[in-house]
């Protein structure tokens, strides 16, 4: 039995602190992914919290057919999608710029390199935020989370073939967006 499974069982047995461990284990990972997805740290925090709350309430429905995190992610994606529908327009580039200013940048880099890093982060995030929701979510799941197609398909409840084609289109769309802001050479 995996450690997650043990914690889940402990939770179901009445030890809510076990669920607390699950929260602590996954909250940052989930938060980073959701923040990348919806472009707002404030909303991401709410979504992550809602996700864990829903997971706790529905924990008995988890069948262990997939990793716990995959199941958790499915809840998060649904909640994020709902929030995105309610909150349009989505994250603005200004918000991204503002946030970038507070992010840690490689301290060993020189001023010029650091400025370029900041700029690069800003460009990537801005380009990501320009993608459609369905393209962004599949790209985030693949590139940031590193999920395999099968897991992405399970999370998004799509056929694997759709994931594959959607991911390709997302990359092409991101490529075009970056070309517009960076120039021809994005490699």
């Amino acid at each position: 039995m995996s450690e997650d499974a043990e914690l889940i069982q402990a939770t179901l047995d009445g030890d809510s602190s076990a669920f607390g461990q699950l929260v602590r284990r996954y909250q940052d990972r989930l938060y980073h992914t959701i923040a990348s997805l919806i472009g707002s740290t404030e909303d991401a925090r709410d979504v992550v919290q809602d996700t864990f709350v829903q997971a706790f309430i529905k924990l008995e429905t988890f069948k262990h057919k997939s990793p716990f995190y995959t199941w958790l992610y499915r809840i998060a994606m649904n909640l994020a999608a709902s929030r995105a529908r309610r909150r349009r327009p989505r994250a603005s580039v200004d918000e991204i710029r503002e946030r970038v200013g507070h992010e840690p940048i490689d301290g060993s880099a020189g001023p010029r390199e650091r400025a370029e890093q900041v700029e690069r982060v800003e460009q990537v995030r801005a380009a990501l935020s320009c993608l459609s929701d369905e393209h962004r979510e599949v790209l985030v799941l693949r590139e940031i989370e590193g999920f395999h197609y099968e897991a992405i398909a399970e999370i998004l409840e799509l056929p694997v073939g759709t994931v594959r084609s959607r991911l390709f289109r997302a990359r092409m769309q991101l490529r075009e967006t970056l070309k517009q802001t960076v120039g021809e050479d994005i490699g």
Partner: protein
């Protein structure tokens, strides 16, 4: 073009390692031979690297505590438990159900605090918990009614109290109204009607040929009430519904009543003992839920106190299923788990919402009558279902057991750091908490809990109290609860009218030890609505009306 797209898609899949061996070989050959394909591959790879190198977002705080608190609140306050998909508690693992007492404890504290902001409290000071008292009043119906007897309950008046409780037992509007009409024709039952009995013997009396009585409430060691809630429904006159009078019942048993010092809102309106404010009296026609956590002796003492005042509390009914329960361990009456209470509150809130929406006095009175029927249905859930939900064991939170609780100064605070759930229960000791002051405030409370409390901060002077329709909220526009979801209880389920035991000095010392543990009870006080008032659209009854005249 199609071929080109296919190549690009395969490059994307190849980049992700999501190709089979022949496809991989083909792509390697293509990338080696085709500069354009190679460039696309490199660009895709670079984009992936950029995305993965984005600075990691991290939460500043540990979400665990907030998540658990919210989950618990959701579980209690949401009407999720009233939906068919989750209403069947038998499908929920036992272990899961055992979390609910903790859930209930935590959320009830929060709910009570919020409610207290808007409500006047009886300003008497909290009295110290008193453990010793007697006698036990575990209600027992030694003779469950036969179908024929149940039929007679529908058609034949018993006495004032039995007539009203019969309405709830039978659980239909028709039966309810018939029973109320029957009760109206009968004189009230005086305390002398009850046959006093020694503390070690049941205080029995005969009512319409049925033996009703109390049995000593001696806890069985194998039995645990940690996850159980006793439900008590009491009809009360407007006079008795006043805070000060209700407080007396509980304070007489050493159960602390919410005091002014506990007010969150410093501007909360107060009233002098015996001189209730107009607002206080106005609430006297609204149902009240009082959640009590105290020793079983204290809870039963409160029951006894209610029964000792039949004019003010014409009908006092312990969970009607209790006597029919096949559970032998004491006391069978505590056979409701928190899910039942949750469901009840959900229905309660729905009834309140409906009342708020409609707004007119007639509709509110209709809702009030409907609520009575609802109460009857909730409280007459088949015993088997309840038993299936309440298999003891597996509960990890033992804070309800005072023997295991550390009572040293500061112990509760230390426990809080270890386990929020435990300390929540610790804070509950021997106290009563008002869960609501009117039918619609619970709905607002639930709204407020979800929306940061804004809606909960509306004044408690609801449309129900003032006859003014409140602004509809999203929640209020939600579909109404299907009132007929539950099957009407069978005639065999109806029974049990609480009686009036005489307090026993002899029982004090022994039972103080036996009952040095905490139980939970939900007291539901339903206002007795004068029939003419219920059918009119006139202002509320005057304050000079005698308690007994408040009966329907």
């Amino acid at each position: 073009m199609m071929s080109e797209t296919s190549i690009e898609e395969r490059i994307s899949a190849y980049l992700d390692g999501e190709v089979n061996e022949p496809q991989r070989a083909e792509m390697e050959r293509l990338l080696a031979e085709d500069p354009r394909a190679r460039q696309l591959y490199d660009e895709m790879k670079a984009m992936g690297t950029s995305l993965r190198s984005l600075p990691r977002e991290k939460l500043e705080h540990d979400l665990a505590a907030a998540v658990l608190a919210r989950a618990e609140r959701e579980m209690l306050l949401s009407n999720r438990v009233a939906k068919p998909s989750v209403a069947s508690d038998a499908t929920v693992p036992l272990s899961r159900r055992l979390l609910r007492p903790v859930v209930y404890a935590v959320v009830t504290i929060a709910a009570a605090v919020m409610v207290m902001v808007f409500t006047n409290r009886e300003p008497e000071k909290r009295s110290a918990p008193r453990l010793a008292r007697g006698p036990s009043v575990a209600l027992q119906d030694t003779s469950p009614p036969s179908p024929a007897e149940a039929a007679s309950l529908r058609s034949r008046p018993l006495d004032k109290a039995a007539g009203r409780t019969a309405a709830a037992k039978i659980g239909s509007t028709e039966a309810s109204e018939a029973a109320h009409e029957a009760a109206e024709r009968m004189p009230p039952v005086s305390p002398e009607d009850a046959v006093a009995a020694p503390a070690d013997k049941p205080a029995n009396r005969k009512v319409d040929g049925r033996i009703l009585g109390f049995t000593p409430a001696i806890p069985n060691e194998s039995w645990t009430a940690k996850n159980r809630v006793l439900i008590v429904q009491a009809n009360a006159t407007p006079e008795a519904m006043r805070d000060a009078n209700l407080a007396k019942v509980f304070k007489s048993q050493g159960i602390a009543w919410p005091t002014e010092s506990e007010a969150v809102d410093a501007n909360a309106k107060t009233s002098e003992p015996g001189r209730e404010s107009e607002a206080d009296f106005d609430r006297a026609d609204q149902a009240k839920l009082i959640f009590v956590e105290a020793t079983s002796a204290q809870i039963e003492g409160a029951l006894s106190a209610l029964n000792a005042r039949p004019k003010e509390f014409p009908a006092v009914e312990v969970d009607p299923e209790a006597a029919n329960s096949t559970q032998q361990a004491w006391p069978a009456q505590y056979n409701r788990n928190v899910a039942d209470v949750q469901e009840f509150r959900g229905r309660f809130a729905n009834a309140g919402e409906a009342a708020s929406r409609q707004g007119t006095r007639q509709s509110r009175d209709r809702q009030r009558r409907e609520l009575r029927v609802l109460l009857g249905r909730v409280l007459t859930t088949p015993a088997q279902e309840s038993m299936a939900r309440n298999k003891p064991g597996g509960q990890k939170y033992a804070a309800a057991d005072t023997k295991s609780a550390d009572r040293r100064p500061g112990a509760a605070e230390k426990a809080a750091k270890k386990d929020d759930a435990n300390v929540s229960i610790n804070q509950f000791r021997s106290q009563a908490i008002r869960l609501n002051t009117d039918l619609s405030s619970i709905a607002r409370l639930a709204d407020g809990a979800r929306t940061g409390g804004e809606s909960a901060r509306r004044p408690a002077s609801s449309s129900l109290a003032n006859g003014v329709a409140s602004q509809p909220t999203a929640r209020e526009t939600a579909p109404r609860l299907e009132l007929k979801r539950r099957e009407p209880p069978s005639a065999e389920k109806s029974h049990a009218v609480a009686q009036t035991p005489r307090p026993s000095k002899r029982a004090k010392s022994g039972q103080a030890i036996q009952h040095d543990r905490l139980e939970r009870a939900l007291f539901v006080f339903m206002p007795e609505v004068p029939q003419d008032d219920a059918l009119s659209d006139q202002p509320k009854p005057d304050t000079e009306k005698s308690p007994s005249s408040g009966s329907p």
